[in-house]
């Protein structure tokens, strides 16, 4: 059904936008490299493809006059989420362009900011592209060419947004979102981030993380049992 397809496409676009945002965060920092720029390019191109596909489907659905009121409301909701997502993507792309120009990778006297982020981000990009792993194949001056490409893509996305505004007339404020405040806490089984813990990065002297406490208890229980068994064996023999 059209609605399911639209929702799936929108979810994929949302995922790509979130991953792109995450990658743009590290541009200019210590994790910036040729690989990162390549990942940025792949992620944003995927996001753009998804955006075009979603737009086609949604505009087709919204222009269909014979749609029931409920269906229409549903599609309008999807539309508002879609255009918000696209705005976020465009803003992040512009930001990436500004940061990429300000922090060229091969300039001798422009060191990158030492932010403490050192690992690679191939996993994030792979998630955005829904592949298992990512292969890097960029050559020497990739980042310079990529910036020009990025400018063109930004223009394309802006044009797409404008076209969308022209073609479909959905006033955003009339849409009632399905999620209410605090909706993110429900069905959050897959999102329970336990391993991040307290955000202030300090030597752990305060209250311990529940997982670690559990592990410690189990371990000590097993150790005690082993000691008890050893004592029994020693006593018996």
């Amino acid at each position: 059904m059209a609605r399911e397809e639209c929702k799936a496409l929108l979810d994929a676009l949302n995922k790509a936008t979130a991953c792109y945002h995450h990658l743009v965060l590290t541009v200019g920092g210590s994790a910036d490299s040729q690989n990162l720029r390549e990942e940025l390019q792949k992620t944003r191109q995927k996001a753009q493809e998804l955006a075009v596909a979603t737009r086609t489907q949604l505009t087709a659905a919204l222009r269909d006059r014979g749609l029931g009121a409920e269906e229409r409301a549903e599609f309008e909701r999807l539309w508002v989420a879609f255009s918000g997502c696209l705005d976020l993507l465009e803003a992040d792309m512009r930001r990436a362009l500004a940061l990429g120009t300000a922090f060229p990778l091969h300039a001798p006297r422009r060191p990158l900011v030492r932010t403490g982020v050192a690992g690679d981000s191939a996993g994030v990009a792979a998630r955005a592209l829904s592949v298992r792993s990512l292969r890097h194949e960029a050559e020497g001056n990739f980042d310079v060419d990529d910036l020009r490409q990025l400018e063109r893509e930004i223009l394309q996305v802006s044009e797409m947004i404008q076209e969308m505004e022209m073609k479909v007339n959905v006033p955003r404020w009339t849409v009632q979102a399905r999620q209410t405040a605090g909706a993110e806490l429900l069905s959050s089984a897959s999102v329970r981030v336990s391993s991040v813990g307290a955000v202030s990065v300090q030597e752990r002297t305060g209250p311990c993380d529940p997982n670690k406490a559990l592990a410690a208890t189990v371990f000590s229980a097993v150790l005690l049992a082993a000691v008890a068994l050893a004592v029994c064996v020693a006593k018996l023999s």
């Binding site: 949302n14 918000g84 705005d87 803003a91 999102v191 991040v196 202030s200």
Partner: protein
């Protein structure tokens, strides 16, 4: 960020960015160590004392000033403390700090947006299992009321961003979370300090005293301006003999050169619009000078020109110029004495004791207003001006071979070459409008 204002970066922020960038130099920058948390090792930690020492060395400033500068950097979010993230202050001992990623640097070009704050708070809500407190809870509720229509997007993005972050290793995840937390601590501070309220008061005061003009008045003035200037505008009314960009002939420019013997009719008409127009045009100014000569008040214009020279001339010549002007125009019994009222003359003579570039401004303004109110209307009614209008040349349109106009002119006599119905006319003559302007170079 989504659809935010685009201003220019404030200068103090650009300066701070430069300082932070020079701190990153591998040889000359601030020394960094690694931080150890159980099993994860995170590099690039700078001690507060090292930062202060570097500032003192690099800019040759005192202890106090370096500490103050460092605290400014921390308060604007370029550095953040690792142990107590909420206390944005630089301690000159070995308290660990880390540099903020450029994406989260404070910027007026990319102001912090409500949607992003909502996403951040939602992420925090998820991480803390719904126990947001204090000002964050307030902001969360407020945002939900304000942008409830995009709440779907907020929840979706929050979840996905958390999932994306999980793909990184633990050290990076911690660092990125700290960075985001610092960004929002700087941009949405928990308590509204006195500084904030002072700025608000200043802003409201400025808003109250802002000059307001009724739009009816504005629009009337605008219409009048457009109506008056319409026939003179090359885009709206075409330019005679031909548009150089279209026909590749620069006759238009040579005819309208700054100093030409016979000005065009349009140019002479423009002198009647305002005194400023007349003075700005060298030909107009010359004719006005002749007219004043016949009225025996040419020294006014000469004085005005001399004052302009003083204002825009070199600094070394200021004293000499002021003396020359005084001798020629202002001294009692001078050769070309100008008539300034006594109060202005007193003040000018006072100022002449310590001459600077703008010391003759009052006198110049007085003479300017005198000319504008008195001589200028007489000039416009005079025979000299009428003769100028009569003698002024109206250049004929260029011949068929050239593309003359972009639009039909609003002049009384349309030229036959313009009519689109001309049989052997160029195909372009039929198309009017901006397309003609795009042709050619």
């Amino acid at each position: 960020m989504a659809g935010g204002r685009r201003g220019a970066q404030l200068p103090h922020l650009s300066k701070m960015e430069r300082v932070v960038l020079s701190m990153q130099d591998p040889d000359q920058g601030v020394r960094t160590r690694s931080q150890r948390l159980f099993i994860t090792v995170i590099p690039h930690t700078a001690a507060g004392g090292d930062v202060v020492a570097w500032l003192i060395r690099k800019y040759c400033i005192s202890d106090e000033e370096a500490l103050h500068l460092g605290t400014l950097l921390v308060q604007h979010g370029y550095l953040y403390p690792l142990r107590e993230p909420r206390s944005l202050q630089l301690w000159p001992d070995d308290t660990p700090y880390r540099f903020q990623t450029p994406y989260f640097w404070t910027s007026t070009v990319w102001p912090a947006a409500e949607l992003d704050y909502a996403i951040y708070l939602t992420k925090k809500n998820i991480r803390k299992q719904g126990t947001l407190v204090g000002h964050e809870k307030e902001h969360y509720d407020q945002l939900h009321r304000k942008i409830s229509h995009t709440w779907d997007l907020v929840v979706m993005q929050a979840r996905e961003q958390l999932r994306a972050a999980k793909q990184r290793r633990k050290g990076d995840r911690l660092v990125i979370a700290c960075q985001e937390q610092t960004y929002w601590l700087v941009n949405r501070p928990p308590t509204k300090s006195t500084e904030f309220y002072k700025q608000e008061m200043e802003r409201c005061r400025k808003a109250l005293t802002r000059a307001r003009v009724k739009s009816s008045v504005c629009l009337e003035a605008y219409l009048k301006f457009s109506g008056q200037r319409g026939p003179h505008d090359p885009m709206m009314s075409g330019c005679l003999p031909s548009n150089p960009w279209v026909s590749n002939e620069d006759a238009y420019w040579t005819i309208n050169a700054p100093s030409v013997a016979v000005p065009t009719k349009l140019r002479v008409e423009r002198w009647a619009f305002s005194f400023q127009e007349l003075l700005e045009d060298p030909v107009g100014r010359a004719h006005f000078m002749d007219f004043l000569g016949t009225e025996f008040s040419a020294e006014n214009l000469s004085f005005w020109e001399a004052c302009e020279e003083l204002r825009h001339g070199g600094q070394a010549q200021v004293r000499a110029t002021v003396d020359a002007i005084y001798q020629q125009f202002l001294a009692p019994g001078a050769a070309r004495w100008v008539n300034i009222d006594s109060r202005t003359m007193e003040r000018t003579l006072e100022g002449l004791r310590q001459p600077h570039r703008y010391v003759l401004d009052e006198a110049q303004l007085h003479i300017y207003m005198l000319m504008k109110k008195d001589s200028y209307p007489r000039f416009l009614k005079s025979a000299a001006y009428r003769d100028l209008l009569a003698e002024a040349v109206v250049p004929p349109e260029a011949k068929r071979r050239v593309f003359p106009f972009m639009r039909k002119p609003l002049h009384a006599s349309p030229s036959p070459a313009l009519l689109p119905a001309s049989p052997s006319g160029e195909p372009v003559a039929a198309t009017s409008g901006p397309e003609c302007g795009d042709r050619g170079t």
